[in-house]
Symmetry: C2
DNA sequence: ATTGAGGTTTGATCGAAATCAAAACGCAGC
DNA sequence: GCTGCGTTTTGATTTCGATCAAACCTCAAT
């Protein structure tokens, strides 16, 4: 069930203002864009849009996680990306008016900032600053997508999991501990694995000093994990 | 060996003007950008840039094909994209000054239009038209990359090859025949396959009416292939 | 505390594609 | 037409991860 609040509240506004898309944007630029924003909330499992729909809106995540996935002919699903707080998705619709290229689903209860594709398209031609911000976001999403292809093709399941863990460790830490921001089944999808494969990957990382308690990951020796 | 010609010749200029990046751009916009262009030629196997290099330039392919790939720790290579005539690559450097995210290699003798990242970054803030063209290109590359992830995760080798073939068939054709634009080993890489796997995929498509003679692909019944 | 429903782990099996090895093919240069 | 090199194909084997099935764990609701 979609619940739209037409005005941003203060907290949402703050989250948005500090997201990569708007960070570094002037007050005026920000004000212009948020004239065209609405806040939408979704419950876990709700569909935000469907592959093939016409791209009327694009989104920035305020809270929670969004799962982007595609279907094959038999209806099997494969995740292609996970978007979290501050991430912007489906912004290709601004420049490429063909249909959304994937399904987007709330992985849990979420709130999104929803922008009108059409209105922002106009803003882009008027404001170099807004254009620049969107290009930076596109660049970032493109880099991540190519990285994902490379990771899929180069690394085994345990290596992909190790990489994911290492991204969440402070660069120079000896040891570390953190909490997964979402369900393991979503992490499995993000890494292109079945949940069973993720579970087995975690247990094969025990030998590299990784222990898992529920959603809490503990790394004894970060540099050993790097060598794994 | 890199061979730089500082001025575009007429033919190169035409190719560039009709490439997706410049198609639809005004004469003035085009002129502005090509002040900052050089033409580079490379021989087969030459490296254009290396992952980790600082992104001084980005490129549009004039002729031939470019292989984008990454290495794992053991030095095994995995292709992540193939860029052909009219395609623009490494344009993320304009907005994201961190290093190139992949290695780029000439798959055969090629000519490229080479743009200075820094100069174009300035143009983008001055000209909405140029900004819009770059955003469209970024969008297109992002869509392709996400499509690639989905294809890898959803489809088997024969299905990926079938999809590739179908993209090269006229939408409504009953039967078709076309020539692969590059070596089979490059196609294998593009599809995330070992050359042996591509070869086996082709032979498993014989049952769907696909025959292969060297680089020439013949499809008896396009709609049967679609159902494969 | 008990129940029940998701989510996760473990076990067994299967299948797709990588890898290694060698044969066959295609083609440019002589 | 031959020669020889690089590409592609074919064959045998291995490996990784998917799939199916069942047990287990967690936690919210009763």
């Amino acid at each position: 069930m979609v619940n739209k609040i037409l005005k941003l509240n203060g907290r949402d506004r703050d989250i948005l203002a500090t997201s990569p898309l708007f960070k570094g944007m002037s007050q005026q630029g920000f004000s212009k864009v948020i004239e065209h924003v609405a806040v939408s909330s979704f419950e876990a499992k709700d569909l935000i849009f469907r592959e093939g729909d016409s791209p009327e809106y694009f989104y920035t995540v305020l809270t929670g996680f969004v799962r982007a996935y595609r279907l094959n002919r038999e209806g099997r699903e494969a995740d292609i990306a996970v978007y979290g707080p501050g991430d912007t998705f489906a912004e290709t619709g601004i420049f490429n008016s063909d249909a959304y290229g994937f399904n987007a689903q709330a992985a849990e209860g979420i709130t999104l900032a929803r922008f009108e594709t059409e209105s922002v398209r106009k803003l882009v031609t008027e404001s170099p600053e807004i254009a620049f911000a969107l290009m930076t976001t596109l660049s970032c999403n493109l880099k991540n997508a190519l990285e994902c292809v490379a990771d899929d093709r180069l690394h085994t399941a345990p290596q992909r999991v190790a990489n994911f863990i290492l991204k969440h460790c402070p660069e120079s830490a000896q040891s570390a501990r953190f909490r997964l921001p979402f369900q393991k089944s979503l992490l499995a999808g993000k890494l292109g694995l079945a949940p069973e494969a993720l579970s087995r990957a975690f247990s094969s990382l025990k030998s590299a000093g990784v222990s898992v308690h529920g959603r809490v990951i503990e790394i004894n020796d970060v540099s050993a994990l790097r060598r794994f």
